[in-house]
Subunit: 214 residues, 2 copies
DNA sequence: ACACCATCTTTTGTATACACATTTCGCCGA
DNA sequence: TCGGCGAAATGTGTATACAAAAGATGGTGT
């Protein structure tokens, strides 16, 4: 693997996992030394992070990890609604019915009270996202969704998942999957809209209000 | 201005204006020499182009100008509908009513039969886009829109604008602006939806079918 | 004659050295 | 003591040199 790719992956993961926090400066020499690469591939990695919106380049100075907080959740979900509703609509027009019927069954049957319930849930949710991406078959939409998901992954750390919400969410996902399986675009769109509405509502009601950026 | 920025702007403009066509190879040494910069800033420019989707990196080999054609117009407009409808909705919830009333008047009154009618139209359309961006006030949505618009600008070369369509389009824009000015989100969304539907229909009906990539 | 392998060429990936801008710290003066 | 000015230091922007990998080419063996 290329050194620039390793640097990009490492930094990206650290930012998403909040090991690098908003406002942290990404000095070129410092990070290059820390990650064991030269400045040249590191600069390439930084440029990609800036393009992703995970970092911003301050005028003349260093690049810093971009700001993100619960204050951004409304804006993020506005975009998320637009993109995921469009994806659901497109997927429902597709021809992958069987796949979504299968996913609906999985979502209905999954047990969400074990020790690794959260991981199981997110695994299934990711599988549905992937299936929707594939069924929508729109590279431009996909690129926008990918860019969005990085920011959502960053926000996940600030949300609080209780078992009740996980169960409700799994049910909503099953409804979406069934609507897509039925080939009903508007039903799939509405189900996605509803899911995101509930998801946003839960985040804003149950999220951790403490300042996480000292 | 930085050398990497100059290289990026130059290449981007050449790609959008079809001086560099889909499939053209962007060799590092060749382009660096042509643009009068070193390979280092040029590589940064190429990375940004790849992030924009204007170029793709072939495995192990060179980076080439990305493919785009009328075959992509359905996918592009699917994303465009999602984003612009969301932007119109958000803008209508904003507080910039007066600005949009003004724009609506301009769209209604503009003369679209002079020699530079096309430029006047696109100037006004860009002004509306800008106003919508500002009123929507959503940086995440804005970033997605910017990424989309590059591809739309590339496609513009393949479309054919006749005066009749320009007049109809100006009228549709006026309707959108008035809906936003009235603070009616769903009306603004529907007006945008309708405009994009007509726009896509016109493109698919009147566009140049000849192969433009020899 | 065709296929396969070795080598040579071309192009990309990485490191380092140098130039320039910006910032910051210290000093002098008011 | 505070403000402004200057110089040193730190850090980014660019160029070039070197290394590695992928392709092309030509030769040889079957």
């Amino acid at each position: 693997m290329k050194a620039s790719d390793r640097a990009y992956s490492a930094l990206r993961e650290e930012i998403v996992e909040w090991r690098l926090r908003p406002g942290d400066v990404l000095g070129e020499v410092e990070q290059a030394a820390r990650l064991g690469v030269s400045r040249t591939p590191l600069r390439e990695a930084l440029a990609r992070l800036v393009a992703d919106g995970l970092a911003v380049q301050q005028r003349g100075r260093a690049t810093v990890v971009s700001d993100v907080s619960l204050d951004h959740v409304d804006h993020l979900f506005e975009l998320r609604r637009a993109l995921e509703v469009a994806a659901a609509r497109a997927a429902a027009r597709g021809t992958q019915r069987a796949r979504f019927a299968e996913l609906a069954t999985e979502f209905s049957g999954v047990a969400l009270d074990g020790p690794d319930a959260v991981e199981r849930y997110y695994g299934l949710a990711a599988a549905l996202d992937e299936a929707l991406d594939e069924a929508a078959a729109n590279p431009y939409l996909l690129q926008a969704l990918r860019a969005l998901r990085v920011h959502l992954a960053r926000l996940r750390r600030l949300a609080f998942d209780d078992p009740a919400r996980l169960r409700a969410s799994a049910h909503e996902h099953a409804v979406i999957a069934r609507a897509v399986a039925a080939g009903d675009p508007e039903l799939a769109a509405s189900a996605t809209h509803l899911h995101l509405h509930h998801s946003l509502d839960h985040i804003k009601t149950h999220s951790i209000p403490r300042k996480d950026t000292p």
